[in-house]
């Protein structure tokens, strides 16, 4: 049985869909994707990164030191990409269904 993907997981995967990013880059991307409404806490972000890496959905591609701070860059693995694709398709189906139902009853004043 496929279980529901939680929002932080989805957002982190989506932030990495187009290119590898480091932790803070993912945090910024999530904020940008959500139009500034969602800002992942560092603990939430890092716990998600750590778990997704353990589960083989992300992999570390390189690391660098900037101003003495360690930055690790992450990218989606094939398994992570497939999972994100499946989730997007499911959300898409739900949104389409909601849209279809809304169109059955026009807005009244």
């Amino acid at each position: 049985m496929r279980t529901e993907m939680r929002e932080p997981t989805f957002l982190v995967l989506a932030a990495l869909a187009d290119q590898p990013r480091h932790g803070y880059g993912v945090q910024q991307e999530v904020t940008q994707m959500s139009g500034g409404t969602i800002r992942l806490k560092t603990s939430t972000l890092y716990a998600a990164l750590d778990r997704l890496r353990d589960d083989g959905w992300l992999r570390e591609v390189r690391q660098e030191f900037v101003d003495g701070r360690l930055r690790r860059y992450y990218d989606l693995t094939n398994a992570g990409r497939s999972a994100l694709t499946a989730e997007v398709e499911q959300l898409d189906r739900r949104a389409n269904e909601a849209r279809r139902r809304l169109s059955h009853r026009p807005v009244t004043a």
């Binding site: 496929r2 279980t3 932790g23 803070y24 560092t42 603990s43 778990r51 360690l70 690790r72």
Partner: protein, 313 residues
């Protein structure tokens, strides 16, 4: 905040992380993310909220790191046995209303603070069996806190409570079962096999074993579990049939046999004890039923590897 206070605060946060995180750079990386955010916001320190958040991450990592010493298969086994054992015990105790050791025959059931704990256990295990990992953790954590509070405060508040050793066992099992994550990846049929059959086994042990000694003169028990009233026989038979049918539909064909062994163990052992199921025989019945439950549950938990299709939380 001064420079030295900053350093002290950073050292404290750093100390929250387990050694493995400090040596492989994960603690540095997490702190780096927080410092990048502080820089962008034009702050010279992390701020109390961020410091607390990082400390929380570190402490959670410590708990996780401690669990990582055990391989996944072992963790799954420990969690499964804790969850099944906890709910089985809770059902058993709920049924016999384990009020203080001085319980007299015919004492009103459910007249103890333990009732809330037993119901909390049943709820938590059902949530875990349904696959909701986060909610199950919340319920189990609440159960652990409730158990500790009962042990510490019930007596002074004048509320009857189960014996302390029972509370200690329930507390330990709820803490162990808090690691429900490995179990959440098992197939739903396996989770139901563990939880559902433990509930039925707990009922069997409680109702047929101890129940007979606690309620020897009520309309249900006549001092011996095999000398039940007609009403009790019909009730138990109806329950057994309904429970086993429900278990079959929840566990599927693959897990039904081990689930049946777990469920029916106590009932079969009691029948084997025959009309001598009193005194020492009751304890033999409980011990044998517990051992059969242990082996059958272990069998269910080792039948399969985790379900890879499950989504990380």
């Amino acid at each position: 905040m001064t420079g030295s206070e900053d350093q002290r605060s950073a050292r404290l946060i750093y100390a929250c992380f387990p050694r493995s995180w400090r040596t492989d750079g994960r603690a540095d990386e997490a702190l780096g993310i927080a410092w990048d955010g502080a820089d962008d916001a034009g702050r010279e320190d992390l701020g109390a909220k961020q410091a607390l958040d990082l400390s929380w991450l570190g402490l959670r990592a410590r708990v996780g790191a401690a669990a990582q010493f055990l391989p996944l298969a072992t963790r799954r086994l420990v969690v499964g046995l804790a969850l099944g054992g906890g709910v089985g015990l809770a059902v058993c105790l709920l049924f016999i209303a384990a009020v203080p050791p001085t319980t007299s025959p015919g004492a009103a059931p459910l007249a103890s603070a333990g009732t809330a704990l037993y119901l909390a256990w049943i709820l938590s295990s059902l949530v875990a069996a349904a696959g909701s990992e986060a909610l199950a953790r919340l319920c189990l954590a609440g159960t652990a806190v409730l158990t500790a509070a009962t042990a510490l405060f019930a007596e002074s508040a004048g509320i009857r409570r189960p014996a302390l050793f029972l509370l200690a066992i329930l507390f330990a099992l709820s803490v162990l079962a808090l690691g429900v994550r490995p179990l959440a990846r098992q197939r739903a049929q396996e989770r139901w096999a563990i939880v559902g059959s433990a509930i039925i086994a707990g009922f069997g042990i409680g109702a047929l074993g101890r129940g007979a000694t606690y309620f020897p003169s009520t309309s249900l028990y006549y001092g011996n579990a095999l000398m039940l009233s007609t009403l009790a026989k019909v009730t138990l038979l109806a329950f057994a049939v309904a429970a086993l049918l429900a278990l079959g539909s929840l566990t599927g064909r693959r897990y039904y046999l081990p689930a049946l062994v777990i469920s029916a163990g106590p009932w079969a052992v009691l029948a084997a004890c025959g009309s001598t199921a009193q005194g020492r025989a009751v304890y033999i019945h409980i011990a044998t039923a517990t051992v059969s439950w242990f082996f059958a549950t272990t069998m269910v938990l080792t039948m399969n590897r985790p379900n890879k299709a499950a989504v990380p939380a």
